[in-house]
Symmetry: C2
């Protein structure tokens, strides 16, 4: 069952009951899915500031107040249970993967929901631009670059980008389409030679999977929502909780609400 047409609230209920423990790509078509990062209040101001200073890589779609686990963009949601799989890190080290985080929850925790490229991939597909990692049934390739983020407090590090190969004509159209989504990464950061942004081997992504780049195609790079997680992890917070890769939070927000026109 694809769950393409299932409403977000129904899916969150299934996920909460551990009846749906799979990646969420393609579910609740048209609704915004988000990356999760949970930190304690002591780290939250710096992290919020980091996101504010690096909006292209850290497009916040919701931030909860300390101790609140219902997202404002998902009525009745529980961010401790409504994601299929979570990852828990202590002092920057992976601890375990869990189906809910109730036993880890503390009253001073703040949940950050960060927009994801699913939101702009739909209009790219609708414009007839093929998305290679979808065609090849794998994860989008992601790379660390030499583009620094603007530091905030304890948080600093390089920008991570995702890459989609396409023809130059498609790249121009993709700039136009993704410019309409400044709140979800926006226009590409770079088109063409990977070395210019510090990527030595385009066939060896730092995260995700390599994809085919065909004759006549150029790689197009967008700021990636993995950036804030990677940066936060480097600072080794006492505890940090994230979604497991591909297992996102499905909100009630429509993708079209994130378009500026």
């Amino acid at each position: 069952m694809s769950h393409e047409g299932t409403l977000p609230a129904e899916l969150r209920t299934l996920i909460r009951q551990n009846e749906l423990i799979v990646p969420t790509a393609g579910m609740s078509k048209g609704y915004t899915q988000a990356n999760l990062a949970i930190l304690k209040k002591e780290d939250a101001f710096d992290f919020l500031l980091f996101c504010q200073r690096n909006q292209k890589s850290c497009p916040l779609v919701d931030v909860t107040e300390p101790g609140i686990f219902e997202s404002t963009i998902a009525k009745g949601s529980d961010l401790r249970t409504d994601i299929p799989k979570y990852r828990v890190y202590k002092d920057g080290e992976f601890v375990e993967e869990v189906l809910n985080i109730k036993s880890y929850w503390e009253d001073d925790m703040v949940c950050f929901l960060i927009g994801c490229s699913f939101t702009f991939e739909t209009p790219l597909l609708e414009a007839g631009i093929g998305i290679r990692h979808i065609e090849e049934g794998c994860n989008v390739p992601m790379y660390k670059t030499n583009i620094p983020t603007t530091p905030a407090g304890k948080f600093s590090g390089p920008t991570v980008v995702s890459m989609r190969p396409m023809t130059e004509a498609e790249a121009i159209r993709a700039v136009q389409i993704t410019s309409r989504f400044p709140g979800v990464h926006g226009a590409p950061l770079h088109i063409g030679d990977p070395k210019v942004i510090g990527i030595e081997d385009i066939h060896k992504p730092d995260f995700g999977d390599a994809v085919t780049i065909k004759e006549g195609e150029v790689p197009v790079f967008w700021a990636c929502g993995v950036t804030p997680q990677a940066v936060a992890m480097q600072s080794k917070p006492s505890i940090m909780i994230t979604h497991a890769p591909g297992h996102m939070f499905i909100s009630d927000l429509k993708d079209t609400n994130l378009s500026v026109f």
Copy 2:
């Protein structure tokens, strides 16, 4: 002397030396001017969250770390001295207007710079759309509306809007032009009947001055940067420092950098 062509750094130096104690409209054309709000760290997370949740009315262009008074968008700047006139409020009550805030500065203060409509008025003017309050040499009219902001912590209250009258054809063009600036209020919140958004008398603004609405013109309303100041004031923080109306911070950021294309 208009200072239209003077560079921001030069103006900040003049202002720091109290040699320029006037409203900043029209100075350093093409460079972003910003509203200032300074709060103590204890209020900063909630206020940053409020701005994140209400981006149309609270378009942050910079936020400093606690104790830092140099803005990242103005090299060598000192936010304690580089604004012509400041206003100091304690427990929500106006205390005094001062030329610098060095005696008020504390090591746990956070400076918020909030974008202002000067940024999108320039491209409106360049598109041949007259800005009535500029033509009439007065302040833009601003109104409290019935549009609630999304609360955050101790901060909540109604959205304040600014109003510019224009023909309907110009209003359509203005939607297009200001949509390019999602980081500085973006598209209008409302066009037409003021009562729909809770404004009883368009000729009696809550802040600023009334302007003429000519036959064949409609009022066009944008979310206004006064919103976060008004909301913060309502919560009666122990201390809050703002710019004096019209006396803005002139940054090194170009207005065109705030356009999504």
